[in-house]
């Protein structure tokens, strides 16, 4: 440590310690900085997951809050409505005529039957309600905003398929060809589309090759097993009849081998065919439902679906009437691609074309889906709503609160302040702590056995659900309340006793008000937990399909988490959006409850 050129300082010990101190200081700073970064990393991690979760739910759920309607002029034909029996009028026919009137060019029987399917199944109901309310409408023509079906809704929100406008430059020339049309363009507009199609074919071929190679592996494995099986047969010798296991095995292996070979041959044929198409860049392609759909939009609302595409021509059918053959100026026609193949989506090409024509005419309106909050559950995706779940949850939670809060707080006060300290109370305390950790489904079983089977209370009702959840929440509230009571400084209690308050007065007038913030926090935590519980409620039967909104505590009800659970199982894409939408509603509830907790804490907080 000493430097020979400098005299040794008088207090060598001190300077030595400053060097060590500097090193130690640096080490400490580094450790602190590291710790800070760990903390930031942890928070960042948690936030990232939160953002991920919320954005996923948001993206999936927002379509549920949007509903599309089409504005139609509906002729309230008095031949279909009998003034004496208004509610029994043939409103379906009225509504169907209204939508068919928008498509005079649609003539085939099957198409005319398919058109009304664009509307929601209860569109007719809306008209009926209006006419019942206002019978003077009979015989007039009035404009109605009619709800579209769930598949139409999803398409308009972009959830069924992507819609691409392909830029075109040239002018088009149309000529009739067979029962369709042949179109050519002065610009090189179709080559790009052809290339895209070929690309899709290539993807398909690659996938088929993958399947083929998997099958080849299977075939090789079978081939390896055959000699082994045949050896087993040889071993069995003369006692081997045709039903001997070894022989049966050989037979099975041979059958498998031949079927694999056949499948491989088919795959090879398909891949060869595809390769031929792909390799020839300019050969024409026939568009099948496993490929994306392409349309040409013409003036006067004409639409042609492309059935065959070459590098410089298109052959297709008219999906909307073509006004005239001949030349179409550049800029007044366009190409559209719907990327999801028709075979992979629920809405077919005709329906898409009809919808887009309504949309382009400005008759489609998108608005906030209030009925989502006003209707109960339904098997039809477009009318299913969360009101049943919300009311059920609210009623159940009310019962839970009314039962668990007074009992829990009273129990906590008694155990903490008044109960003698002996083996029994210790046992009770241990058991309460254990109950807090019991899986919630066990409470459901308890509810089933005691409340439903023994007491015979109404199944699936908010009352029983609330009682089960109250049992589940009690330990949480008791433990939180006890902790809050214990946290009140003994000086307050002694001050009260010193003035001549009885124990009871000291607890209720002084200790309890100071413990309120902690008790409230524990209660809201317990309530929030109860709001999200599904398992115990499933046990008491709240898994049924409840359509009506519960009117009281003993009506059959469902709760939001169970509703979410039921909807998530259903196949329609619209229900997937509604599941996420209901999750958003549930999260909204929870945020509100937590905000209430924070507010109440601030209100009751007193400094001591």
């Amino acid at each position: 440590m000493t430097d020979m050129s400098n005299p040794i300082p008088a207090r060598a010990g001190k300077s030595k310690s400053t060097v060590i101190d500097a090193a130690r200081l640096k080490k400490r700073y580094r450790a602190e900085a590291r710790f800070r970064w760990y903390g930031i990393a942890a928070i960042g991690f948690a936030c990232a997951f939160l953002v991920l979760l919320l954005s996923d739910i948001l993206l999936k759920g927002l379509p549920a809050f949007e509903a599309n309607t089409v504005t139609l002029d509906v002729a309230l034909d008095d031949s279909k409505i009998d003034a004496g029996a208004i509610s029994k009028g043939n409103y379906n026919s009225i509504v169907n005529s209204a939508i068919r009137a928008q498509f005079p060019g649609v003539t085939s029987r099957s198409d005319r039957r398919a058109l009304p399917k664009l509307l929601s199944f209860d569109a007719a109901d809306k008209v009926r309600r209006e006419v019942i309310a206002n019978p003077s409408l009979i015989g007039t023509t009035r404009s109605f905003d009619l709800k579209l079906s769930d598949e139409a809704d999803l398409f308009l929100q972009g959830m069924s398929t992507d819609e691409f406008d392909i830029p075109v430059t040239g002018s088009l020339s149309i000529e009739a060809s067979g029962d369709g049309f042949r179109l050519t363009s002065s610009g090189n507009d179709f080559a790009g589309v052809l290339a895209r199609v070929k690309q899709r074919l290539e993807t398909r071929r690659d996938r088929l090759s993958l399947d083929a190679s998997k099958l080849e592996r299977v075939r090789d494995r079978l081939a390896a097993e055959i000699p082994v099986a045949e050896a087993a047969v040889a071993e069995a010798g003369s006692e081997a009849t045709n039903t001997h296991p070894a022989k049966r095995r050989v037979a099975k292996l041979q059958a498998d081998t031949s079927s694999v070979a056949a499948a491989l041959a088919r795959l090879k044929a398909q891949t060869d065919e595809l390769s031929a198409s792909i390799d020839n860049h300019s050969s024409a392609e026939t568009l099948t439902p496993v490929l994306p759909s392409y349309f040409v939009r013409l003036p006067e609302k004409g639409v042609v679906k492309i059935a065959e595409i070459g590098s410089d021509y298109i052959i297709g059918q008219a999906y909307m009437p073509v006004a005239a053959t001949g030349a179409v100026a550049a800029g007044s026609w366009s190409l559209v691609e719907y990327s999801q193949p028709e075979a992979d989506r629920r809405i077919n090409d005709k329906e898409i074309i009809w919808l887009t024509s309504l949309r382009d005419a400005g008759m489609v309106e998108s608005r906030f889906n209030w009925p989502f909050f006003q209707r109960g559950d339904s098997r039809e995706a477009e009318v299913a709503g969360v009101l049943g779940g919300m009311v059920g949850s609210a009623l159940t939670l009310l019962v839970t609160l009314l039962l668990s809060l007074p009992i829990g707080v009273a129990a906590a006060i008694y155990l903490e302040e008044f109960a003698p300290r002996n083996r029994l109370t210790q046992l009770i305390e241990v058991n309460i702590n254990n109950l807090a950790a019991v899986p919630s489904i066990v409470f459901g079983l308890l509810g089933l056995a005691v409340f439903l089977n023994f007491f015979g209370l109404p199944r699936s009702s908010a009352m029983v659900g609330g009682m089960v959840l109250a049992l589940m929440t009690l330990p949480t509230i008791i433990i939180a309340s006890r902790a809050a009571l214990r946290a009140v400084p003994p000086s307050i209690r002694e001050g009260a006793l010193g003035v001549g308050a009885s124990h009871q007065q000291a607890v209720f007038h002084h200790v309890l008000p100071l413990a309120m913030p902690g008790i409230l926090t524990g209660t809201i935590i317990g309530m929030a937990q109860a709001l999200g519980e599904t398992a115990p409620l499933l046990m008491i039967g709240m898994v049924a399909f409840i359509v009506d909104v519960p009117g009281g505590f003993s009506d059959a009800a469902t709760v939001l988490p169970v509703q979410i659970f039921l909807w998530s199982d259903l196949p329609e894409a619209a229900f997937q959006a509604k599941t996420a939408g209901a999750i958003m509603v549930l999260l909204g509830f929870l945020f509100l409850m937590n905000a209430l907790a924070v507010f109440l804490r601030k209100q009751f907080e007193r400094r001591w």
Binding site: I492, G500, R607
Partner: protein
């Protein structure tokens, strides 16, 4: 005398200095104890103790830390009942009646025997509420105006009214330390007690606040029996008329304050007063 015998003797016998303190000759004693013992579980904290405490006077308990003076003080208003492992033996009487009589309501006792604690502990309520709480629960006021009158009088007697008269709704915890202690004293006298116990009331306060409280104690002496535990001998000398010296759970010596401080009979008392220990 044999030192060991003397030791054994003095451990269980109180020496009165002089034979009968002058203060005691002025009237009947308020509080009389006979053979009082206190055990915390197995540990004995107070050995058999006999003392008579006079009315309308200040009695001071002095002694080193842990000698049992606070424990004994808390016996007088039965605050030790709140400690489960604490057992009190012997007899304590106030005005002749045993306070540990099972027929006696301890809540009523605590209304007659008020207490002021070491660290000021006003309720986290308004100043008015702090003082009004006691009278309200004991039914001392017939109407709201009565209650307000009691509160104002108590605050005046505690010497706090002038400072807080325009903010009676402010929280009690918003006052300074000295003011809080005076509030606690006001709270104690609002229920009209006969005895006021003070457990080191000034130990958490600055000298000026201490002086004010001592002044207050001297004023209150005319109407109440005050027992004060203090670790400051100077305070005991200033404020009290009777002084009792405790050591290791034993009451070593009790007598007129002047006599104890000028002419203590016991060796231990002498040592303590001279500052040789404690």
């Amino acid at each position: 005398m044999d030192a060991a015998v003397m030791e054994a003797d003095t451990r269980h016998k109180t020496i009165m200095t002089p034979a009968e303190p002058l203060i005691m000759q002025q009237g009947t004693p308020k509080i009389v104890t006979e053979d009082v013992t206190v055990h915390y579980g197995d540990k004995q904290a107070i050995f058999p103790l006999d003392i008579s405490i006079p009315d309308r006077a200040v009695s001071a308990f002095i002694g080193p830390s842990g000698c049992g003076k606070s424990t004994f003080l808390r016996c007088i208003n039965r605050m030790n009942d709140t400690i489960p492992i604490c057992r009190v033996g012997g007899r304590i009487t106030i005005d002749g009646s045993d306070i540990y009589d099972p027929d006696l309501d301890v809540v009523q006792l605590r209304a007659r025997v008020g207490m002021v604690f070491q660290k000021p502990n006003p309720f986290p309520k308004s100043i008015m509420e702090n003082v009004a709480y006691g009278p309200r629960i004991h039914g001392l006021a017939r109407s709201r105006t009565d209650l307000e009158e009691i509160v104002v009088n108590s605050l005046k007697r505690a010497g706090l009214f002038e400072e807080v008269k325009d903010r009676l709704d402010a929280p009690g915890t918003s006052l300074s330390g000295g003011q809080q202690q005076r509030l606690c004293i006001a709270r104690a006298i609002a229920v009209n007690p006969e005895v006021i116990l003070m457990d080191e009331p000034c130990s958490a306060l600055d000298p000026i606040a201490t002086a004010r409280i001592e002044e207050l104690i001297s004023e209150l002496r005319e109407n109440y029996c005050i027992v004060i535990v203090t670790h400051s001998m100077q305070q005991a000398a200033r404020v009290s008329q009777l002084t009792a010296f405790f050591h290791l759970g034993t009451l070593v010596e009790v007598g007129d304050t002047e006599a104890i401080f000028t002419n203590p009979q016991e060796r231990r008392t002498q040592d303590y007063i001279m500052g040789r220990f404690g």
